[in-house]
Amino acid sequence: MRHNLHLQIGPASFRIGSAWAAPIRALSALYQDYPQAELPCDFTVRLEPQKPWRRWLRPSVSIAGDYVLPGAAPLPLEHGLLAAEMGMNLQMALGQKRLLLLHAATVERGGRALVMTGESGAGKSTLAALLGESGWRLLGDEFALLDPDTGLLHPFPRAVSLKNGAIAVLEGKVAADRFGPLLVGTPKGHIRHLRPNREAIERAREPARPALILFPRFGADLPEAVRGVGAAEAFVRLTQASTNYGHLGLRGFEALTRLVTQTEARAIDYHQTATALRLVETLWAEDAA
């Protein structure tokens, strides 16, 4: 495809081709400091018109590639950056066969990692982005990649996808040149991508040992609460947070049982980001130290 780009994000490399120049331009600006991709690429993503004439006429981007969701609605060309991000996530979710993929945000301090997993809307991305600006290294806001051979977590520091209210929170803390364009009225509301800081990008191939697993739950009227999560419950919840547990077979079983038997797990309820940040620091001091 005429417009294209290679990207290395943590252990995975992507080849992104586009029928239009704009999405590739936006991607290369957002990912300007990232290292050269290792070839051959693990995954191919294509941004293409759904029908040939939709390249020019009311252009809309449909997401294709090695692994696809054919029924997914195309996005307007202005949201091409989001389409590229979704395309890369999809390849990881459906195509990752080496590392156990957990739908979780991860940060690291002192070589030890905190894993936060929960349904979308639990505030993982926001928490990870904030922690990543305050003494923690951001490993990733979307996927945690557990290496069955080592038991370590690999970073996947793609651009953080900030939604709605979280955008302003981070705009107040981070230099403007690390943000992508504001995408208005996407299927998920307003979205603005944030490039992780230099440390997160430079150490993107440096894994960390898991030390604490949190299952955060956010709700406007949820009272603050902390509860221990037993190994069996953590195991079952993590199999459900993984898109490829079944694909990894015995390697996945061994990796995940080792993770839950060697790592503390807690569920936390919160209704304010500040509360969650405080709980994280307290539990980290108790459990991981």
């Binding site: 037993g230 190994a231 195991f235 079952v236 077979g249 079983f253 061994e254």
Partner: protein
């Protein structure tokens, strides 16, 4: 007595990990993971000694444990065996 004999794969083909009171089991032949509660792991352990009938399983269980039940013992054992059978961990021959 001509009841069916129950068989299970050898323990080496079913690695397990204890998770606070429950047993996580990986069944190599199917690639599937099961979470087991008592008495399922104990029954599988017995079947590791070789194919055997329902009655013998019960006799051996009673021999090794103080077996408690809220109904007909053989019927309940049958229910447990058929759960294992549905999961593909045990089959009749």
């Amino acid at each position: 007595m001509a009841g069916p004999r129950y068989t299970a794969d050898p323990p080496g083909a079913m690695p397990t990990v204890e998770l606070n009171g429950l047993t996580a089991l990986f069944h190599v032949r199917s690639g599937m993971t099961h979470i087991l509660a008592a008495p399922a792991p104990q029954i599988l352990a017995l079947l590791a000694e070789g194919p055997t009938t329902r009655e013998t399983i019960l006799a051996r269980l009673t021999d090794r444990f103080a077996v408690e039940s809220e109904g007909d013992v053989l019927e309940l054992l049958e229910a447990r065996l058929s759960e294992l059978e549905n999961a593909g961990l045990v089959w009749r021959s």
